[in-house]
Each structure stands twice: as C-alpha cells, then as structure tokens.
Amino acid sequence: MEILKLAIAEHPFGKNLEPRFLKMLAGGAAHVSFKQDQHIFREGEECDFTFLINSGSVAVDIYSPTKGAITIQTLSDGEVLGWSWLVPPFRKHFDARALEVVHAISIKGQYLRDLCEQDHDFGYELLKRFIGVVANRLQKTRLQLIDIYGDN
C-alpha cells in the first residue's frame, strides 16, 4: 500500500495530491505490466480500470475491417490511459495496445466512482485532474483534425 502511494505521488497525475487522497487511490490500485503487442483493453469492453503509465508506450487504436488497426494516438510514461470509467455507460471507446513492455498503475473504475460519491472533496479533486487530461487530449485531437502540417 505504501509503495503504491509513493508510486502514485511520483506520477505526474498524482503530483501534490493530499496524502489522504493518495491513500484512497492506492486502496484500489495495483502495479501491472503488459507485454509488447498485448491488448490492455478493447473497444466496447466494460471500463474496469484507469492506468497511470510508468514506462513504455501504448497505441490507442480504432479497428477498421478494411484497414485493420488505425492508431490515433500514442501515450507513454507520465500519462493517463483510460477515462471512460467516468462517463456512462462505462465502456471503452478504443483499443489500447502495448507497443513495448508497459509498466503502469491500474486503479479500479467502480472503486473510484464509489469513492467520488462518498467523498465529494476527493471526487472534485479527481475530476479536476481528469478534466485536465481530457482537455489536453481534446486540444491535441483538434490540431490533428485540422491537418496541422498541411496548407492550412
């Protein structure tokens, strides 16, 4: 538990988080690893976990029957993978695949939702952090959409 608390505190997502919130997060957390090319989750699956990536990189894919896996984003150390645990119906929207060996901290989605309902201070702090992740992804996605390297 203490090791997980420290690991979460060292991850950019957990930086400057109050000790009691770190303890709460650590209560639903575990260290996990994925082999190269292993799927971490697939589109449509129930969103059981969110992941704080410690090392390695992950491809976020959309599967097309004609083109196969289309990678729309890669994530690596210091980033957060998966925020569908926050939004009903709590299903994954994309595939996530380890491009190399990935070490991460997983935190249970249902556990987080329950904690957010029980302790609104915790919930607000967590939502502020996740909205930062979501806003950053949205901004980067918008830049991708405008074909930033074209003749815009």
């Binding site: 976020v60 083109k67 990678t71 491009l99 190399e100 991708q144 930033i148 390297y149 003749d151």
Partner: protein, 271 residues
Amino acid sequence: MIPQLYSVRQIKQETHDTFTLELDPKDGTKTPSFEAGQFNMLYVFGVGEVPISISSDPTAPKYLMHTTREVGIVTKAMRKLKRGDMIGVRGPYGTHWPIEESAGSDIVIVAGGIGLAPLKPALCHLVARRENYGRVVLLYGTRSPNDILFQKELKQWRADFDLEVYVTVDRAIGSWRGNVGVVTTLIPKAPFDPLSSVALICGPEVMMRYTVQELVRRGVNHGKIHISMERNMKCGIGFCGHCQMEASFVCKDGPVFTYGALENIFGKREV
C-alpha cells in the same frame, strides 16, 4: 534581380508530393555559399518564380538543393523538369538560423511537414560541428509515416551523430510503432534544458504557434525561440512589399525571426 542560370542535375522524389531539386551553376562555377535558413527565388521559365528554402549542406555545398511540395503551378512545372533543363536562381536571400551563435547551448529543432527542409541545412551544420553543442533534439511531426522526409538522413543523424530524433505522425496504419499525435505532444518530455536551449521552429504557422506555447511553458526564453515565417514573397529583397508584416519584410528581415521580435504580431489576424 537578374536570375543566374542553373541546370538540373537531378530530381529526387522524397515522398508522394515532395521532391528535391539538385542544381549546378550553368557556367561551371562553384555553388555559392549560403547560410542555413536562407532561401532562393527559383524561376521556371515561362511559368513563374517562387521562393524556396535551400536544403543542402552549407558546410559542404557541392550543389544547390531545394526541397519542395508540389502545390502550385510553378512547383508542379518544376517537378516536370528533366536533367539538364535550365532554371533561374536568385539569391541566397534572407536571415538565417543562429547556428554559429548558439554554440554551447542545447538545440531543440521542431519541424512540421515540409518544414523539415529549411531546417536540414541547420541539422547538417550541427552534425558537422557536433562537439560545439550540448544536446541536439529534433522533434518532427508529419501527417503519416509515408510523409516522413529525409528518412535516410534521420536514421543517420540518430545513429551516427548523437542527435535525439523523435518523429510523430497524425495517423498510422500497419507496422508503424512510433509516436502518434501532434508534434507539440513531444515537447513536454523532450530531453533538453529549457534554460540553456535555443529552439528553431519551422512548419505551418498554426503548428508554430502551438509549438511556441509549449516551449514557453517549458521555460524557453522568448528571445531564444526562432521561427521561420512564410509570406507571399515576390521580389526577395524588400522592394515590393508583398511579404510585409507590420514594419518587417519577411524576405529581407526574415524569414528567420526570434519569437521575441514577433510576439506582438505572431498569430494576429490582421497581419
């Protein structure tokens, strides 16, 4: 203002829509020296003249190289030239990347799409004088793996010259195992010291705007960020005013500016 005659030595297809033109002076003289970041006005006879950055190695200018995308009437006509055909060249014009002046610093190069071409001479210089610089980091973003320019050079710079090269694409299918996302996503984790770094940026203006924001967020000084601007350049020497940006002419006072010099007008719609 009178173009010098050059003959086409070779045209090399770099990607599906980008090619490099290699030129020799027709009179057999030596290729004139130039500074990294400068451009020439290239004149396809009977079609028109366009400004194109020089992409050859300034430390060993065996022949003149220009890398460009086939986008307009002139560049499309240029692509159709054959070995031995003539082309008019005026230049070199404009300001250059501050390579010599940046000795001792970390160098961060951020390129987007065809923007890698005007930065190639700077990279050649850094490679040739590698011992004079700290960390040299190249962050390069492009649409897809098929649009990556200078693939051979990128591999060589990374392997033989201790350059840290990170490439990212907007979308990838198949065997690509590299980064996917816009080039700005590479900046927060790129290995350079922001307080002792000089940044060189070239790409479409939108890309440069967001790149500057990320570099400033990392702590790079405004005066140490250099951007290569593009405007409708016609004369190349500050006479005609086509490329005027407030009090500056991009062809004469640029194309390379410090962000510090432009920050009040950079991204302004009226300019």
